[in-house]
Each structure stands twice: as C-alpha cells, then as structure tokens.
C-alpha cells in the first residue's frame, strides 16, 4: 500500500486566481483520486483519473497524471472562497490511504 504526498502543505491565493497542488507516489497504481475536506467534515471525492489517462477535466478542475514520474497535479481555476479546504490525493491500489494533504485558503 502507499499514500500520496501532497505539495505544498499550505497554499494561500486571492479569489479568482488559479490554484495548483501536486501529488507524488511510489509504486504502480490502478487509478489516482483527489478528495476535498472542509473543516470538521468528511472527505468528498472530486475526480478519478485512470492509470492510462493523462488528463481529465471536471468543471473548474483539471487533473494530470504522469505515471512515468509517479506524479499528479490538481488545478482549480478561477478559485472561489468556497474552495477553501484541505485537498488529498489517493493513489489507488488495493487500499485507500491518504497523506497529510494541501491546505488551500482562498482570500476574498
């Protein structure tokens, strides 16, 4: 089993700007998932990218996956105050494990 390592640990940007966070992992995966967690709440699944995909979009989210570098990135465009949350990547093998996440703060 493995967990992703998110970078940066914390990110603060102005509302309207784009936010990019990165994830690295160590071994082969079936897919990679991104989750969001608002303070004191459960995690919410955002997007899943399969190991044979390179890029995927969902609304204002864009995820890339580079299996040769064992890395992924999550881009949130035109950020909003409601995007303030912690973001976790989950490189999926048989177990679902998480790293420490990226804490994103959107400044109004």
């Amino acid at each position: 089993s493995q967990q992703g390592e998110e970078d940066p640990q914390a990110l603060s940007i102005q509302e309207g700007e784009n936010a990019t966070m990165n994830c690295s992992y160590k071994t082969s995966i079936n897919n990679l998932q991104w989750y969001r967690q608002n303070s004191g709440r459960g995690l919410v699944h955002l997007i899943l990218i399969r190991s044979n995909e390179r890029e995927k979009h969902s609304g204002r989210l864009r995820v890339t996956l580079d299996t040769s570098k064992k890395s992924s990135s999550l881009l949130i465009t035109a950020s909003r105050a409601a995007d303030t949350a912690s973001y976790f990547c989950a490189p999926r093998d048989e177990k679902l494990t998480f790293g420490t996440g990226t804490r994103l703060t959107i400044i109004p």
Binding site: N31, F88, K95, F98
Partner: protein, 113 residues
C-alpha cells in the same frame, strides 16, 4: 442521494471507558473503511473490509480497538479502554469496489477526558 451514515456525531467519554461507533454504508457497497483523523493530519486507515472480510487492519491498535462488519453491511468500531490519545475524528467510508471512488460519512468526533 444515498449517504454513509455514522453515529454518534459527537462523543465524550472518560479515560478507560468503552466507546463504540456505528457506520451504515451506501447500499450495495462492498468495501468499507474506518479512518482516524487527528486535527491537522490526514486520515489514517484503521481497517478496510471487503464484504465481511478484513482486507487490512495493519494500523489498528488491536490491544484496544476492534472492528466488525457482520453480514457485510453495517459496521461497528469499538475502543476499550479509551485513552486520552484516542481523541480524534473517526471517519467511515464505503465504495462499490476496491478501486472505485469512496463516499465518506460526516464522522464521529471523539473526546476522551
């Protein structure tokens, strides 16, 4: 919309007492997960079930924690005896299969005093 149900939402218990958490996954979801999350950290996987079988419990402190999923549906996580360091959010999640997206409950916030 189907949800993962957890109860209680909040629990305060004294050190050395027993405490139990309950989780009802989304109907038809074969995989169920229990996590512990300490403030400021990521969720730590305690136990993962596939139907009624344990897939992984390598991080479960088995001297005091136990988990079961009878009939492969709802699940209970128990701590006995509780210690101060067990204060955390306990999250339950479920997924249709091993590799699919997981849906999380709202969690149980445990405070041990």
């Amino acid at each position: 919309e189907a949800e993962v149900a957890q109860s209680p939402r909040y629990k305060i218990t004294e050190k050395s007492q027993a405490v139990a958490f309950w989780c009802d996954p989304i109907s038809g979801h074969a995989t169920l997960y229990w996590y512990r999350q300490i403030l400021g950290q990521g969720p730590e996987l305690l136990v993962q079930f596939q139907d009624e079988s344990v897939v992984d419990d390598s991080q479960l402190p088995k001297d005091r924690f136990s988990a079961e999923r009878l009939k492969g549906v709802d699940s209970t996580l128990k701590i006995q005896p509780a210690e101060l360091g067990d204060s955390a959010m306990y999250l339950c999640a479920s997924s249709l299969g091993v590799y699919t997206e997981a849906f999380f409950g709202q969690g149980t916030r445990l405070t041990v005093v």
